[in-house]
Symmetry: D3
Subunit: 221 residues, 6 copies
């Protein structure tokens, strides 16, 4: 009988769930708490509590520093379900003395970085009319904005740990780390092609394709 | 067996309904009639009729005047399912001789008000660079526009009933009535805090928190 | 010396006015009253008055009925400068007993029609999966919604004048009247091509191309 | 028991599927392959392959020329599920020597046309301040852009077959063919009304309403 | 001669500056640094430096606490010109031991609040289906999100100063403080009307209309 | 006197050109032909001709193959002013037998690639939940879609020249070539930092920073 049930469900879905993208991009309700977290459907408002909009203890990260000297707590719909559909994400990063984040791109968001402790060098590269690198050392209390979609870099330039808060103007800004997405992509991108593009010999490229790159877990959105 | 069925449904849902928000905000079909009304999924187009896009007799409201001297018929996706996803809402309001709508805000829509009978004073307050109040008495045949997100007021200034038509450029403009959302919110907002913010004594605030405020039913969107 | 001045202006323009379309579609200010009306630049807020958001006497149109038995007052940024950038337009149409609006399309807006006097037949045609015509006779107090971009028709079916109010969810919905834009376009569209497309003989097409079509003045947005 | 199951499904749906339109129009994931094709829900990423983003042999259309001398292959989410949510559609059209596409409108997209073989006359009609027809003969290697929502025409002006590639900046641009949507709409639009609007006698209109018009199958999006 | 020059400028403006709102909301360039700060035109990219994207020493506010016990540094296009068009704003607020921000609304943005020092109670009120107040005490390291357009409150609940960082997902979120915009609006909103709406006697309303309310300077965006 | 003139211009600008970003993203007119090409202001419609929407002879590129074996003709607002504000760009690329385009990202657009001659291998890398490489060899008549913002690769795999047409759903998709934007950015990004990120020795990085990379002229948008 289960198959009949599945059939009914399938019919119901194909009839009822041809969700429409709307002509009108404004929200239809006050909020849509993700249920379960990470999903994009709405929790019954009666079951929503203030905790759905909150996260505690970002200042006490539970992960150790990764191989790049970074530990991050990222707050978006995946961890705080009340962020769902609201167009913001937030993160706290702690850098070991020599820690850095590899060059990367958020194709879907602008990012603002605010230094809570220590000193950070940040910079981004333009796309037009030239590859210009705008960079600056930020001290505690300083702030910098990374325009949407541009490649940027961040590294600790203090002798101590540094800490930053960062906000993105979308729920899932996407992370494209360089060179990770080039050399860590599986199956391998053609090594002869990459050797030409990167002006490296093919053996070096093949070697890079076997390495372990930046830790990109679910926590990095 | 029911639990198995629920399990199957849940699996089906998690596979099929991870709805994507699109890069492209344009609609994917001609319309998406809400099914059931108030929902955001689409009715099978074969079952759609012209009646799904229509509402009759707005000029004969069935509700009596509320305590503020207002009776309203509001036409949006909740009452006319064909409004779903199309980015418009419409309303007819009738005001008793001393009737008024409390100051309120539609954070998600611009509103245009057209006077069908009588005379109405309308006005809105800017946010920057100062709190400036722009107001005007409208007579029959006159029209006024309320910019999106600004606090506004409406009151009957005729000796007779007045009637207005109003259009909003979103399906669910949201209503934040002042002072209702401050004093009617449950659980109570801290009364000491409100007393400071409103420069009233705390006893007055506590008294206001027990009153019955503007009738905000499902009909008011 | 004038040419020097022009040069200076040109330089200034190329330096200063490379306006950017923003990543963020939300407005930057409370309103932007068009200055002059019809333009898209903002009037100095200090010179703005409540009258900039208002229009009077829509119920007393000054134009006589046109050849189709229609007289319209349309309220958008071109006539009420405060509509500029706010995403709404509003109109009052009066129909003589046999009056009608030819089939037309607003590619940029949804429209809601509310009957103030008389009786109107309205209808629209879908694009997919078939050309289905949804139509309805509306009496005084009835309302109908036309989904964005669909061809629609309106005609008076009362023995008396009829009157409608209409709202559109954009400032300039654009009007493409059929068959006007086909047969009134100048220079003429190839008549042999149109004869094939419309399954008429070429002589009839050429004759239609000389006729006077629906009065599409600035007032029709 | 089936009715109990349906009830459960309905409950589940009303709890889980109140999809929210988001404040933030950016995508939540890298892609959302339509599953099944034509639907707007996402295929499990683990089941996605490169073939979901590809279509082969557009240059060898399988349909014969239709009555207008056109054969088209259209690539959008309906045929290539990876197009879903990405905001692009693509088409290859082949024209017989006297082939043409009737005047039509895409209310939801701009279109660019590139001539691969032969010669095509293309043109569009503006809406404001006048019905101006901008047209041009394109030869092999030439390109033309049709602004969003404007009525446009395309006809082969070569003695041989012509071929064009076309791109639209939305997944489902919608096709409103003229005069098809006027005369092919069912049920019939009032013929007396159409006769007035088109300045034809009513008998001619009734005759046109019985004809077979441009072949608008699922393939034409 | 000056008048001729002005005439030339005016002509040039009407020809060149009829800025179009685009069909495509994506940015046309990497960034558009406001020039001058607060304006929306772009600085010549060759004159842009990294400092245009940065602000220093947010952690050392130069303003004393205002009458509500708040001192704020707000970073948006008005203070950091590189924020222009990028869809983010950022702020650092310091609260004296009994400091608070009155209930207010940002009609154009979601806000995330992160506690850097001390403890803050934050809360927001929903609009539908009821006025529900979701609130929470945040300690150092905790975070809370305020959905777009909802009325919210913030007050220091620590015995010491508290400090928060806040991000908004638009450049100018707009501030509507309650009750400021009601009682501070000039010219005065009709006091009889406000007395009814707030269930206060008219004398109290008139008294409130003479008070000095929350300090809303240019710094509060 | 020139300084007086400049002063007048500046005043005029600050009064007239405080362009507002609108609440409503729909276009205000049929088109906005860039004037001059590359600018975002509108040409006087009376001066617009069909040629403003057209480009000829894309199939006869005038540039020789660059060092990567590529010659491209790109059609966007910079070359065809009628593309301005319409949300599309188009390109024809010709590849020498061993030609390739380095891995790159368009943060602002989806791209569709259609093979006109020869055979091309294309592929893209996802960002979540893993760096997965989706690639395919396309032959003449085949098509592939690259989701917005993802890193992708293209290389000729035919023994002869290959030719592709490509469309992007924005006017200026932006090009971030890898590794160009990393190693060609000026001033140099810190070489020690890049050595760590790329797992290369610092000397190799410094050497790469002196090389000549992919030819990114104005023609590449």
């Amino acid at each position: 009988m289960a198959s009949n049930v599945i059939l009914l469900i399938t019919l119901a879905l194909s009839n009822f769930i041809c969700i429409s993208f709307a002509f009108d991009p404004r929200p239809l309700q006050d909020f849509c708490v993700a249920d379960p977290p990470g999903n994009t459907t709405c929790k019954d408002p009666k079951a929503v509590t203030a905790n759905d909009f909150s996260l505690s203890c970002l200042n006490r990260p539970t992960d150790p520093f990764n191989a790049y000297g970074i530990t991050a707590v990222l707050d978006a719909a995946a961890t705080v379900p009340g962020f769902n559909t609201l167009g913001l994400a937030f993160a706290r990063l702690e850098y070991a003395p020599s820690g850095y984040v590899p060059p990367h791109i958020h194709p879907r968001s602008t990012e603002v970085i605010y230094v809570l402790e220590g000193a950070i060098e940040v910079g981004f590269v333009t796309t037009y009319p030239e590859y210009k690198y705008y960079s600056k050392v930020l001290n505690k209390g300083d702030l910098f904005i990374i325009p949407v979609g541009l490649l940027h870099s961040q590294r600790n330039v203090a002798r101590t740990n540094s800490v930053t808060a960062a906000a993105s103007n979308t729920q899932t800004p996407a992370f494209i780390f360089m060179p990770d997405s080039v050399f860590a992509a599986k199956p391998d991108i053609n090594s002869h092609y990459l050797a030409g593009a990167f002006k490296l010999d093919e053996k070096t490229v093949k070697d890079l394709q076997t390495k372990s790159w930046y830790n990109r877990s679910a926590k990095t959105m």
